[in-house]
C-alpha cells in the first residue's frame, strides 16, 4: 500500500519550510495543503488540538507536530538516503542542541524585530545578532553546521534566511555586516535544490509582513 503523506503548510512559515526541505532532501512525494492561519481548518484543529499550529505532518492519517520533531521523524522513517542527523550519539546530541538553540534564542527576537518598535525593537535586534554570532562561531570554517554534509542544524536555521530581508528592513540594519560567514553559509545552502525550492521568496515575505501582518498588529 502506498504511503499517504500530507503536510499542513503555511506560506512564509520557517517551521513549515524545515519540513519541506527535509522532504526534498529525501525526495519524498507529499500532498502540500496550504492552511489559513486565521480561519483554522477542522483538519488542523483535529490533528493538532494542543497547539493548533502548522506544520503538521500526516503520515497515513497519523499526525506528527512540531517542526524539529517532524524532521527527526522523517529522518527515522525514510532512512534510505540523505541522513539529516549524524549516527554517532554525541554528534547527534550536538546537532539537537544547536537546532534547539535556534528555536530558543533566534526565533523569539527575530519575531520581535518585525513586531515591535523603538526600544523594544533595538533590544530584539541586539539579542538576534548575539544569537546569530554564537551560531556563526559554531559554524566556524565548516561548509555546513554538520561539516561537509548538509544536516539537521542547517535545516533548522536556513528558513530564517528567507526572512533576513524583512528583519533588515524593519530594523534598518545589515545582517551581513555583523555575520558575514553566516551569509556565505546561507548562500551556499541556497544552491541546494531542496532549499531554494522550499524557501519562501524573501520579497513576498516582506510584502506580507508590511501589508498584512504589521497592520494587523497596529504597526502600519
Amino acid at each position: 500500500m502506498a504511503d499517504e503523506v500530507v503536510l499542513l503548510d503555511l506560506y512564509g512559515s520557517m517551521f513549515a519550510m524545515r519540513v519541506r526541505i527535509a522532504f526534498a532532501e529525501k525526495d519524498i512525494k507529499y500532498d502540500n495543503r496550504e492552511q489559513d492561519s486565521v480561519n483554522k481548518s477542522q483538519l488542523l484543529l483535529e490533528m493538532n488540538p494542543v497547539h493548533k499550529k502548522i506544520p503538521v505532518l500526516l503520515h497515513n492519517g497519523k499526525p506528527v507536530c512540531e517542526s524539529l520533531i517532524i524532521v527527526e521523524y522523517i529522518d527515522e522513517v525514510w532512512n534510505h538516503n540523505s541522513p539529516l542527523l549524524p549516527s554517532d550519539p554525541y554528534h547527534k546530541a550536538h546537532a539537537r542542541f544547536w537546532a534547539d538553540f535556534v528555536d530558543k534564542k533566534v526565533n523569539d527576537p527575530a519575531r520581535r524585530i518585525w513586531l515591535k518598535k523603538g526600544e523594544e525593537l533595538e533590544i530584539a535586534k541586539k539579542e538576534f545578532i548575539e544569537a546569530l554570532k554564537l551560531l556563526e562561531r559554531e559554524l566556524g570554517d565548516k561548509t555546513y553546521f554538520g561539516g561537509d554534509k548538509f544536516g539537521f542544524v542547517d535545516v533548522a536555521l536556513i528558513p530564517f534566511y528567507s526572512w533576513f530581508e524583512t528583519y533588515e528592513t524593519c530594523g534598518n540594519f545589515s545582517i551581513e555586516e555583523h555575520c558575514p560567514t553566516l551569509i556565505t553559509w546561507g548562500k551556499k545552502c541556497m544552491e541546494r535544490e531542496s532549499v531554494h525550492k522550499s524557501l519562501a521568496d524573501p520579497k513576498k515575505i516582506c510584502e506580507i509582513v508590511f501589508t498584512v501582518l504589521r497592520k494587523k498588529y497596529g504597526l502600519e
Binding site: 503520515h59 517532524i70 527527526e72 521523524y73 527515522e76 554525541y90 539537537r96 554564537l134
Partner: protein, 181 residues
C-alpha cells in the same frame, strides 16, 4: 575521574531527570553539586551558552539540556528503553516531553511564585496544560504504557517538586489531576 559525571543542584527536577535515566540503565556516575549563586569555572566552561545544570560528562563528551541528555543516554547504554522503538511513538513522546517543558514547567512555577493577576493567569494555564497531560495518560499505568519512559521521567517533577512547593507555600492550585499524582 569517573567515566560519567553529572553536575547538578539537589533542587532541580531537570537534574533529577538525568539521574533517573542513568539509574534506569544502571550506569554509575559521579555527582557534583553546584552552587548556582556561585557557579563553578567548570560549569561555565562546560555550558557557556546557558550556564545551567544539568551538565553531563561522558568520556570527554559534554552534554547539556536534560531532554537531549536523556536521548543520548538511551542511545549509548543498553537496558530498559527510555524512548519507544517505533518512530511514530518516539515522535509522540518527544512532543509530550517538549509540551511539559514549554507549557507546564513555566506556568507551574509562576503559579507558585507570582501574585495577583499574574498568578491567576498562571493557574488557568497550569490547569489547562495538566488536563491535556491527564488526557494523554488515559487509564495507562505510565505515559510510556506499562513501563516508565521519556514522558514519565520528564513529568516526574509535577508529582514531587510541584506538590512539595504547593504544601510549602500553602497553596491549593491543583484540584483535579488525580491520575497525574
Amino acid at each position: 575521574m569517573a567515566e560519567v559525571q553529572v553536575f547538578g543542584v539537589w533542587s532541580s527536577p531537570f537534574v533529577r531527570r538525568v539521574e533517573m535515566g542513568l539509574k534506569m540503565k544502571r550506569v554509575e556516575y559521579e555527582y557534583v553539586e553546584e552552587d548556582l549563586k556561585n557557579k563553578s569555572d567548570l560549569l561555565l566552561k562546560y555550558n557557556p551558552i546557558y550556564k545551567k545544570v544539568p551538565v553531563m560528562l561522558h568520556n570527554g563528551n559534554i552534554l547539556v539540556e536534560s531532554l537531549i541528555i536523556l536521548e543520548y543516554i538511551d542511545e549509548v547504554w543498553e537496558g530498559p528503553p527510555i524512548l519507544p522503538k517505533d518512530p511514530y511513538e518516539r515522535a509522540r513522546a518527544r512532543f509530550l516531553a517538549k509540551f511539559i517543558d514549554d507549557k507546564c514547567a513555566s506556568p507551574i512555577w509562576k503559579a507558585c511564585w507570582s501574585k495577583g493577576e499574574e498568578r491567576e493567569k498562571a493557574i488557568v494555564e497550569t490547569t489547562e496544560a495538566l488536563k491535556i497531560l491527564e488526557n494523554e495518560l488515559k487509564g495507562k499505568k505510565f505515559f510510556g504504557g506499562d513501563n516508565i519512559g521519556l514522558v514519565d521521567i520528564t513529568a516526574n517533577f509535577i508529582a514531587g517538586w510541584f506538590l512539595g512547593l504547593q504544601e510549602f507555600l500553602g497553596l491549593q492550585i491543583l484540584t483535579k489531576i488525580i491520575s497525574l499524582i
